[in-house]
């Protein structure tokens, strides 16, 4: 058992069905509780190869493929699984696959030639007496990434919010396709720069499986320590942001300062506050310092608890967060939320649950909240922060016993005609990397999915019937990545 969910299949063993049978199979799997993880395409010789990965209750993945003529396409799965709406929009936008019956076939991030058409995005409009539109973006008021938001309001009340992304589209997947996969990690670390470790680990795990390399338990442990430090740092950053947005300065200052401690600990281990350069295929480039980790964890645990008591105990905070931007469990499942946003709606998805490797000896607790509102998302972050710190306190001891770590051994040739999918639980949710090799062992497709792609719709839906002035706190509570979505 590895620390991540890694699924490998030889292309010869990958079932390829005709579109109708494929669609029926997917429908059957969904009825049996299969959870859609990713749907993606690739231009092949006989048409567009469309693959879908579904996760069973035992964490295992089922992958099935079909080949479609793009002009003919297939009947959209979004109709039966709204969670796939973004994946199918991407399929349509990038590969021109016709999707009959897709209810919302709008541009996902604008691509290639269509980038010039961004200003003509077909926003949904609400007409009626006193209904007005509010346009925000792409540049926002703070130091954050760009995206456009269009609100349909009556006074303060939001009827509908539509989020137009694509402003951060750099062409990550095109660059990944053009580069030597063994040297792609620096680029992978910037897919969503606040989740560098999670993305890098998923890619390393996939490449190592392709190369038939098994890293040592010490390497797995070190990677997990960096991942949990990243989670702790970003949960602190998120809580600091939420405290700032509700004007609760004492907690904002403390969470912000504690984040500095967390990322400086990462820097002590690997030279970068974001864990850049630490994970490489075949190993890690890390100077283990168990004492630094233990000391930081002790401080974060003690001072974090005081900040939590003040923040969550304040009536003003409770009033500003409870019942705001709420989604039900059923909505979250229907639109396929992942990660902390899903757990805040009572949906228990966490790829670390039941994981082996670094998590086998010290299982990490999964936390959910039932209410699906800003309060729930803040609570989940706080409880996950505490769980990560408890895990890190135990893991730091093991890091000290592991001794110095050797430099990564460069991995060799990749196995030909394979598909490997790796899932890592970043602080936002699962990152998915799917690498496929051709008969010569070259990577012909490196598909990336950041959890943000799955969760942006949750923010939009949750804002309905809320006040527009609550948008900033709702946005911060999801803390989604623009660049991770836009790629």
């Amino acid at each position: 058992m590895t620390s991540l969910v890694v699924h490998a299949v030889a292309l010869d063993d990958l079932p390829v069905l005709e579109p109708r049978a494929w669609r029926n199979w997917v429908k059957g799997e969904l009825l049996q509780g299969g959870r859609p993880v990713m749907l993606w395409g690739r231009r092949g010789e006989a048409g567009v190869e469309v693959s879908i990965a579904l996760q069973r209750a035992d964490r295992g993945l089922d992958v099935l493929r079909t080949t479609v003529d793009p002009a003919h396409g297939y009947f959209a799965l979004t109709e039966v699984a709204p969670a796939l709406h973004a994946c199918e929009r991407e399929l349509h936008e990038t590969l021109g696959v016709r999707l009959t019956g897709h209810p919302w076939l709008k541009p996902l991030r604008f691509h290639g030639q269509t980038q010039a058409d961004m200003a003509a995005y077909p926003y949904y409009r609400v007409d009626g007496k006193c209904v007005h539109e509010v346009a925000v973006g792409p540049i926002h008021a703070g130091v954050i990434e760009p995206g456009s938001f269009r609100f349909q309001c009556s006074g303060e009340l939001v009827h509908h919010l539509e989020i137009q992304l694509g402003y951060q589209h750099r062409g990550v997947e095109a660059l990944l396709a053009a580069r030597d996969p063994r040297r792609s990690i620096p680029l992978v670390e910037t897919i969503a720069g606040d989740a560098s470790v999670a993305h890098a680990w998923a890619t390393c795990a996939a490449l190592e499986r392709l190369a038939g390399v098994e890293v040592t338990p010490a390497v797995e442990l070190t990677r997990a320590i960096l991942l949990e430090l990243e989670r702790a740092a970003m949960h602190l950053a998120g809580l600091a942001g939420m405290a700032t947005d509700v004007g609760f300065v004492p907690a904002a200052s403390t969470y912000g300062r504690l984040r500095t401690t967390a990322i400086n600990t990462t820097m002590r281990l690997c030279g970068s506050r974001f864990g850049r350069g630490a994970l490489r295929p075949g190993g890690v480039v890390v100077t283990p310092d168990a004492k630094a980790v233990a000391a930081a964890v002790e401080l974060l645990t003690a001072h974090g608890a005081t900040a939590d008591a003040c923040f969550f105990g304040a009536r003003v905070v409770q009033h500003r967060l409870q019942g705001v931007g709420a989604l039900t469990t059923a909505q979250a499942q229907q639109i396929g939320l992942v990660g902390l946003a899903a757990r805040a709606c009572g949906v228990e998805i966490d790829q670390r649950q039941g994981a082996g490797g670094a998590y086998a000896a010290r299982p990490i607790a999964v936390h959910t909240e039932p209410s699906g509102d800003c309060w729930a998302r803040a609570r989940v972050r706080s409880r996950e922060l505490a769980a990560s710190l408890a895990w890190l306190a135990a893991a730091a001891g093991a890091l000290g016993e592991a001794g110095p770590l050797p430099a990564p051994t460069p991995i060799g040739a990749l196995a030909p005609s394979q598909l490997v999918i790796a899932l890592a639980e970043s602080w936002r949710g699962e990152v998915v990397h799917a690498l496929e090799t051709d008969a010569a062992g070259r990577v012909v497709r490196h598909k990336v999915q950041d959890p943000s792609l799955r969760n942006w719709l949750g923010l939009a839906l949750g804002l309905r019937d809320n006040e527009i002035s609550d948008f900033p706190i709702c946005n911060k509570s999801y803390d989604l990545s623009y660049c991770g979505n836009d790629l």
């Binding site: 290639g112 980038q115 961004m118 792409p138 540049i139 008021a141 703070g142 130091v143 954050i144 990434e145 760009p146 694509g166 402003y167 951060q168 589209h169 750099r170 062409g171 990550v172 095109a174 660059l175 040297r183 620096p186 680029l187 910037t190 897919i191 969503a192 720069g193 606040d194 560098s196 950053a237 600091a240 004492p250 907690a251 200052s253 403390t254 912000g256 300062r257 984040r259 500095t260 400086n264 820097m267 002590r268 281990l269 690997c270 030279g271 970068s272 506050r273 974001f274 850049r276 350069g277 480039v285 100077t287 003690a302 001072h303 005081t306 900040a307 105990g313 990545s481 623009y482 660049c483």
Partner: protein, 247 residues
């Protein structure tokens, strides 16, 4: 109430006393290249660099392209390259970002006497992310936290370009943000200047030549300050700003 007082007591005083001289422990910062001759025909550092920041021989490293990933140091069979914890890396001249063989040289940040006189006591910054990965954005935000507390030096983020003296750009500038960056610049009152933060903004970095990138803005408005890193450490940014203001 008691909890709040406890929180305040635990918080203590967190501000770094001198942002210009602080050295973060463990930071992989300014590289130095020894004058030891390169092995005959060796291109190990060049081959391993993800952003083509290095040329050799003689070995030269362009901080404007470098992501500080550290891959070149162990790759060099002659052990010529080492990374120090030095955060002072920003420059006003693009060419000053090139590190040559020999002892470390700290580049100058100079925005000129006129701008220094105008903004020396108060500098308002409008930031635009144009393809940034949220690394630079988080570090720019960190400047305002209690540790770096850049506000005590009269440097602040503002929401409107109308209120801004300098435009801070992060990211390689995506095609879809090219117009927005130009609009933000056009909305600013003169005197004004551009600050490029991070390898992506300075040279395209990892996204040099990417299909979704349009760097025309920097050709029209060359930055007066280049802040290297991927992302830059807040101390690198802070020192650049303070030097620019003559502090």
């Amino acid at each position: 109430m008691w909890k709040l007082l406890q929180l305040r007591r635990e918080q203590g005083r967190q501000a770094i006393a001198d942002l210009r001289t602080a050295r973060p422990e463990g930071f992989r910062g300014l590289p130095v290249i020894a004058t030891t001759p390169c092995a005959e025909g060796c291109q190990a550092c060049v081959d391993v660099c993800p952003t083509a920041a290095i040329t050799a021989p003689p070995a030269q490293l362009d901080l404007g392209r470098c992501t500080l990933c550290g891959a070149c140091a162990p790759a060099c069979p002659s052990g010529k390259i080492a990374f120090t914890t030095q955060t002072a890396m920003a420059a006003s001249e693009r060419t000053a970002l090139v590190v040559s063989e020999g002892p470390a040289r700290i580049p100058d940040v100079d925005i000129g006497a006129a701008l220094r006189a105008r903004f020396g006591r108060s500098l308002k910054l409008r930031q635009v992310s144009a393809g940034g990965c949220n690394g630079c954005e988080l570090e720019l935000n960190a400047l305002a936290n209690v540790n770096f507390d850049i506000g005590r030096h009269g440097i602040e983020w503002v929401a409107s370009p109308r209120h801004a003296d300098a435009l801070v750009v992060s990211g390689p500038i995506t095609k879809t943000m090219a117009d927005a960056v130009q609009l933000a610049w056009d909305a600013m009152a003169a005197p004004r200047f551009v600050i490029a933060v991070g390898a992506c903004a300075i040279s395209g970095g990892l996204y040099d030549g990417a299909p979704g990138v349009d760097r025309g803005f920097f050709d029209r408005q060359p930055p007066l300050i280049y802040v290297p890193g991927c992302p830059p450490h807040p101390l690198t940014i802070a020192r650049a700003l303070l030097m620019a203001l003559g502090r």
